[in-house]
Symmetry: C2
């Protein structure tokens, strides 16, 4: 059973989802939330709030692995910097806790939960709701992408984590 913290990075709204499960079987939803920060606030305070919240979530829910959405420079110019910065904070929070951190592209995540790398947001939300057997779609919607990332990692990356650990052990 692998418990994964998924992060859909954003500065104003950062989606966080924690699920657990094994590859090929439905996962269980453990927690989800959206960490908000005010665009009028100083950047340093906004990043610090994220940094603290990630540390709290890792302590509280003890995930074994962190999955973060990979951000591309070609994305929306207006938000790409904030997204990259929020992503960096999530990555370091995982690394600081000694957890493996894996990055997935949006199409990898979409393909993992819907079967199509070009699925739209509604389709991802629908599949996340179904796969986690939730009574209603996650609200706010930003959390659905984070849950999808966590599911994607349970299914795809769990094996990868184990291989990496085995390889590390063999090298010792």
């Amino acid at each position: 059973m692998l418990r994964v913290l998924g992060v859909d990075p954003g500065l104003t709204r950062c989606g966080v989802g924690i699920v657990e499960g094994v590859p090929g079987r439905p996962c269980t939803m453990v927690h989800y939330e959206v960490v908000h920060s005010d665009p009028d606030e100083e950047l340093a305070h906004r990043l610090l709030r994220l940094d603290r919240r990630f540390a709290e979530l890792i302590t509280e829910f003890a995930p074994a692995s962190v999955a973060v959405e990979r951000v591309f420079a070609q994305n929306n110019v207006g938000t790409v910097m904030g997204t990259a910065q929020a992503g960096a904070i999530a990555i370091v929070a995982g690394a600081r806790a000694g957890l493996p951190v894996t990055l997935y592209t949006p199409s990898e995540v979409k393909a993992a939960v819907t079967g199509s790398g070009s699925a739209d947001k509604a389709q991802v939300t629908l599949m996340v709701t179904r796969l986690l057997k939730l009574a209603a779609p996650p609200r706010p919607a930003d959390a659905a992408d984070a849950l999808a990332l966590a599911i994607c990692h349970v299914w795809r990356g769990g094996t990868r984590d184990k291989l990496a650990a085995a390889l590390k052990a063999a090298r010792r």
Copy 2:
């Protein structure tokens, strides 16, 4: 006397410079270095190395303020994401230590040390060497920009820090 940690963010080469001084007078160089990381290494490890080094530098040199170069999405697409991520780690390292963090654009820094916002790298290095009365230009050159940032903040931001602190005190 204000001691400032300047950071010219970069993932592969991150310039760090620490100076102290008062507005309008030559500053003193305290320390400079370039934190390197290997592009072949995992992103999480690269960011973690920066995170740890910033924390060590803040403990060792006890700066009162942090100045970081502001990154724009319009910058070099090939390196802009790494630069934004390294910048986020520097910003949070300062904020976590309770230090004020100020961002400066490259032109603000150039204007502060050379008098021209469009000065080239050689001119900035020359002025940093002169202003800090160094026997030779800082090597590696990436450190010169970080020192320029720190000088810029001593001259421009020192007053700002004091005003912010006074305002904060008045509000209590």
